[in-house]
């Protein structure tokens, strides 16, 4: 049975309920509001100013700029205009949602005027917001997991490459040591028959033993870094002492190759609060790296410059080797990274990663300066300790 006309009269309960959730306005062909009911007035830009007789786009911020589209509806060129889930802040700091719609009052005569229909859709809007929120959070988590998975995958690949390189690199020095030891053993009764000078043979054995030792150290250090158990024993030290010790060791080892290793420092002690063994490890890695890439001749210089005004010590490890192209420098300190030019030399891609880790653990920073053909300089800064 169709509802009686009184059911929708202005005084009816049905009208009261509709008016609390919806707004309707009649817009004439000049886009002026001719009449308004329900929530239309309270949603206006200035609720205290009567919307009737005002241009509709000036009463609702949502309709600003849409005058041309409204004209198209009036001209019958556009069937309607809807804006869904328009957010409006409410009095309690939350958001209410409204749907706005503009429709011809008479489908056959759109130029006669339009109906602006506003509906409070807050309940549905909040449900929808909840669903979208959960969907977006899920997607963000998926993206993070996918990224982590991809990083793990590439790390795993790098580890496989590292294992095969490490096995190869462990074998090479052992092979040299075995060959030279065997040679010396066979010539033990009469060194004069040996094709090599004993000094040369022993220095090669020492060099390869040091390299083997450093490789095993790197592997053990990586393991400790990954487990978060990388010990640092800070104490007051003259940073020049551990550096000089490593320089001396390399001077001795590289004496049979035409490579000079020199130290430039300060006559006075350069104090720092650091770990002397870790400083040695840094020097060992960086000088060892330079020696590897220099081949049979070149110069390595370790320079210590106290910079008390900047509260730091600069330690530079410079060589006149082949240099590193700019585009490869950013990745130098990444775990397992090896430059394309390094592939013909032994190495695991651990050294510079460990050097950077140690430097940061000592509250320092490391950078590289290099140009192809003009050598390389690794610069480390550590906090200086001012001793009164």
């Amino acid at each position: 049975m169709p509802p009686q006309p009184s059911f929708f009269s202005n005084e009816s309960r049905a009208f009261e309920l509709l008016s609390s959730r919806m707004g309707v306005a009649h817009i004439n062909s000049d886009q002026i509001i001719e009449s308004a009911q329900g929530i239309t007035q309270q949603l206006a830009l200035s609720p205290e100013v009567e919307v009737v007789s005002q241009p509709v786009s000036e009463c609702f911020v949502e309709l600003f700029g849409l005058e041309e589209m409204i004209d198209l509806i009036l001209a019958g060129e556009l069937p309607f205009l809807e804006l869904q889930e328009v957010n409006r802040p409410n009095d309690v700091g939350g958001i209410d949602y409204f749907d706005f719609g503009l429709y011809p009052a008479d489908k056959n005569k759109p130029n006669d005027g339009l109906i602006l229909f506003i509906e409070n859709t807050t309940s549905q809007g909040r449900l929808m917001q909840n669903v979208i929120q959960q969907r977006n959070e899920l997607r963000l988590t998926q993206q993070e997991l996918s990224k982590a998975n991809s990083e793990l995958h590439s790390l795993n690949e790098l580890k496989s490459i590292f294992l095969s390189m490490a096995a190869h690199d462990l074998r090479s020095p052992l092979s040299v040591i075995t060959t030279y030891s065997d040679l010396m053993l066979n010539s033990a009764d009469n060194f004069d028959n040996s094709p090599f000078e004993p000094k040369y043979v022993f220095s090669r054995i020492l060099e390869q033993s040091i390299w083997l030792n450093s490789l095993i150290d790197d592997i053990l250090n990586l393991n400790m870094i990954e487990q978060g158990k990388f010990p640092i024993e800070m104490e007051k030290i003259d940073v020049q002492e551990p550096l000089k010790a490593v320089v001396n060791q390399f001077q001795h080892v590289l004496s049979t190759r035409n490579i000079s290793v020199s130290f430039i420092g300060s006559e006075d002690a350069v104090w720092a609060f650091a770990d002397k063994n870790r400083i040695k490890q840094i020097a060992f890695n960086l000088i060892g790296n330079s020696a590897k890439f220099l081949g049979d001749a070149g110069n390595i210089t370790v320079t210590v410059s106290p910079l008390p005004e900047q509260h730091e010590i600069k330690i530079s490890f410079a060589d006149d080797g082949p240099g590193i192209p700019k585009q490869q420098q950013e990745r130098l300190f990444q775990l397992f990274y090896r430059t394309p030019g390094a592939s013909k030399f032994s190495g695991t891609g651990l050294g510079l990663y460990i050097v950077k880790t140690i430097t940061e653990r000592l509250d320092g920073e490391i950078s590289v300066e290099s140009e192809p053909g003009e050598g390389t300089s690794f610069n480390i800064t550590l906090p200086i300790l001012i001793v009164e």
Binding site: F64, E68, M69, L83, E85, I95, Y97, Q129, I132, Q133
Partner: protein, 169 residues
């Protein structure tokens, strides 16, 4: 000084920080919690362009991001004088979405309007997945200057909106 009102829209993938950028620009505030926008949120901000002797009243339409880009129809974009496109430098696919939004914009408006790209979340530079070269490329492709921004620290926010304001006047 002449007073002009202009509508601008923010477009970009979900969770790139569009609403946070608007909040930082309009209220100078930032909230770390993430609240997805649905539909559209409209804010107003006066911007004085003294060199052009214009007091600009910006109506900023912050549109929902994500798969709903096809819902970004003429009703939302009509009358817009310019667009701020936002990507998140820690999520590379958000840069790809800018091209999608740019195509949607052209399709809906059937004309070109000024665009500024904000490479947001620059405070998280260590997690960066989008580099300058990629931003330069999209910038050239859609003919829009780009700026770094951080809704969290406020860096680049004013610059980004001011750049667009100058382009639309």
């Amino acid at each position: 000084m002449k007073t002009i009102q202009k509508k601008i829209c923010l477009l970009g993938d979900f969770s790139v920080g569009k609403s946070s950028l608007v909040r930082q620009f309009v209220e100078g505030q930032f909230d770390d919690s993430y609240l997805s926008t649905i539909g559209v949120k409209i804010s107003r901000k006066p911007v004085e362009l003294s060199e052009k002797e214009v007091a600009l009243n910006l109506l900023i339409w912050d549109l929902a991001g994500g798969d709903d880009y096809s819902k970004v129809t003429s009703g939302y974009l009509a009358g817009a004088a310019g667009v701020v496109m936002v990507c998140d430098i820690t999520r590379k696919n958000t840069l790809l979405m800018l091209e999608v939004y740019s195509k949607q914009l052209t399709k809906v408006l059937k004309k070109e309007i000024p665009i500024v790209i904000l490479a947001n979340k620059c405070d998280l530079i260590e997690n960066r997945e989008i580099d300058d070269a990629q931003l330069d490329k999209i910038s050239e492709k859609i003919n829009a200057p780009w700026h770094f921004s951080s809704a969290k620290t406020g860096e680049g926010v004013e610059t980004g909106f001011r750049t667009l304001s100058n382009l639309i006047i």
